[in-house]
């Protein structure tokens, strides 16, 4: 029995509660010996990209051991979090667990915070001292905020002026503030510069807040202060706003003073670059973004703060055998969306499984569709199909595009129903 390595024990007994047995034996988790399994893949981040990748690796090759490390024990999706803010869903409806990944797909799901990766020893270190060795590492850690970008706005301030750009407590805070607001109040949404997570997200949020206000506090207003001069699906959103919420939503682009540079949280006031003050009763600040901090710690990012990758395999251009998918990566023409991260998760799974088995991966194909609800019965979408052209993920010409401008109510209602259907399908593709 002396040939039995600690690593084997940890892995094999994992499903049966290895950590408690191990703790009683006083075994640490580092210094492990070679695996009996074909290969060990560690995935950091159990969101849209990471959880998808874990499932699809195991579907293709159950002899590969997959460990998924996620900080949260349940995952609340950003998709449909605007519906929570607008009061047509609650937080429970958008919260998922890792039971199916564990039980149906045999993924070793570990909860905790990854603080460091040693690419030479191929070891992932977690807060609290645990470590996991890998043959290949995939990271899909999402985004973090540039807390230094807006004067007076930091992580502490976000408790009262929520960003709600990661779903969970922040989503609920913004919802509760809208419920407490008096009729006649002003809701300010500060929208970030490109690139950022979910390009149509701020405008869907304005729409669903307007839906709530129209029914409950009709004298209120929404002011969107934008660091950009145009935004995703703009003509479709504006058309919907004029039809459904006339006079309620005002959008100010960066050239008209939309770019916010300073926040006075006490005074509930934001200042644009011309020092004009805007006072709000509820202020939602969506700060400028960058790849999540672990990608920075690992040295995987470029000067812009995002991770360059080989766009066919998602392997980092900085480190061999480390793949980066989802919002944190630079993925050609694909937007930073959950749909894109899910699509990339599968291509990356194919790349990882092919590499481990010494096979050539067939040509990758990618898709994105972003639905937005302008109201619960009024949906719009933008879609694209992608392949690799000259080494970058490029749109296939002639395909894709936005919903037609002249569509009737039946069409918009159908797309609203499909938005809900999409949510059910994609979350089942990831979590069940």
């Amino acid at each position: 029995m002396t040939t039995l390595s600690r690593r084997k024990f940890i892995r094999l007994a994992g499903a049966a509660g290895a950590s408690s047995v191990l703790a009683s034996l006083g075994w640490g988790l580092s210094g492990c010996q070679k695996s009996a399994k074909k290969a060990r893949v560690v995935i950091v981040g159990g969101g849209f990209g990471g959880a998808t990748c874990a499932k699809y690796i195991r579907r293709w090759d159950p002899s590969i051991e997959v460990t998924l490390i996620e900080r949260m024990t349940t995952f609340s999706t950003c998709p449909f979090s605007n519906a929570v803010i607008g009061g047509i869903r609650n937080l429970n409806d958008i919260t998922h667990n890792y039971n199916a990944l564990r039980q149906k797909y045999g993924v070793n799901v570990v909860h905790g915070n990854v603080i460091e990766v040693d690419p030479v020893k191929r070891r992932v270190a977690m807060e609290g001292g645990m470590a996991h060795d890998y043959d290949r590492l995939v990271i899909s850690p999402g985004i973090d905020f540039r807390w230094d970008a807006i004067e007076g706005y930091d992580e502490a301030t976000s408790a009262t002026l929520p960003h709600a750009w990661k779903a969970g407590t922040q989503t609920q805070t913004l919802r509760d503030q809208l419920v407490s607001m008096e009729d006649g109040g002003t809701v300010i949404i500060v929208a970030p510069p490109n690139p950022f997570r979910c390009p149509p997200g701020p405008y869907e949020r304005a729409s669903l807040i307007a839906h709530y206000l129209k029914e409950n506090k009709p004298k209120s207003k929404i002011l969107i202060l934008d660091a950009k001069e145009k935004f995703s699906k703009q003509p479709l959103f504006v058309q919907g706003w004029e039809k459904l919420y006339p006079g309620m939503i005002e959008w100010v682009g960066s050239n008209k003073g939309g770019e916010i540079v300073r926040v006075d949280a006490q005074a509930m006031t934001v200042y644009d670059k011309f020092d004009t003050a805007h006072k709000g009763n509820v202020i939602n600040i969506i700060p400028p973004q960058k790849a999540a901090s672990i990608a920075h710690t690992m040295g995987l990012v470029n000067n812009d703060g995002w991770a360059p990758v080989n766009q066919t395999t998602f392997e980092s251009t900085q480190h061999k055998d480390i793949h980066i998918i989802g919002d944190a990566s630079i993925a050609g023409k694909m937007p930073k969306s959950g749909f894109a991260a899910n699509s990339q998760g599968k291509v990356c799974a194919a790349a990882v499984v092919s590499a481990i088995n010494n096979k050539t991966m067939p040509p990758p194909s990618y898709v994105n569709t972003c639905y937005s609800l302008v109201s619960p019965d009024y949906g719009i979408s933008v879609a694209a199909v992608y392949n690799i052209q000259n080494g970058t993920i490029s749109t296939i010409e002639g395909a894709g595009g936005v919903s037609p401008a002249d569509a009737d109510d039946v069409f918009r209602k159908k797309e609203a129903e499909y938005a809900v259907g999409w949510y059910q399908s994609i979350t089942s593709d990831i979590f069940s």
């Binding site: 579907r59 159950p62 002899s63 194909s365």
Partner: protein, 106 residues
Amino acid sequence: MQSYSHSHYLAITLITTVLLLGSTQAQATEITPASMLANSCAGCHGTDGHSPGAIPAIAGKSTEFIETALKDFRSGNKASTVMERHAKGYTDEEIKLLAEYFASQK
């Protein structure tokens, strides 16, 4: 690691059991060009076309049905919301691969 306590033996029994179970595990399935294409569809139509919600399930529909539908969406012969925009991204050959893939799903 020299002397084993009672709990070590318990753990070892557990390992042996898991090892035996583990040895019956399935091997890798081939990653086909069709599955690379079809996985994109799962984002809306569910894993392997098993949609749980409002979007039509496509798993187990006949090859001919899916192939015709995709080509008709592409040409605009069949009205759609988003499928026309998607179908235009695929060649005849790719549409055939997709149709065969989803038709073969249970």
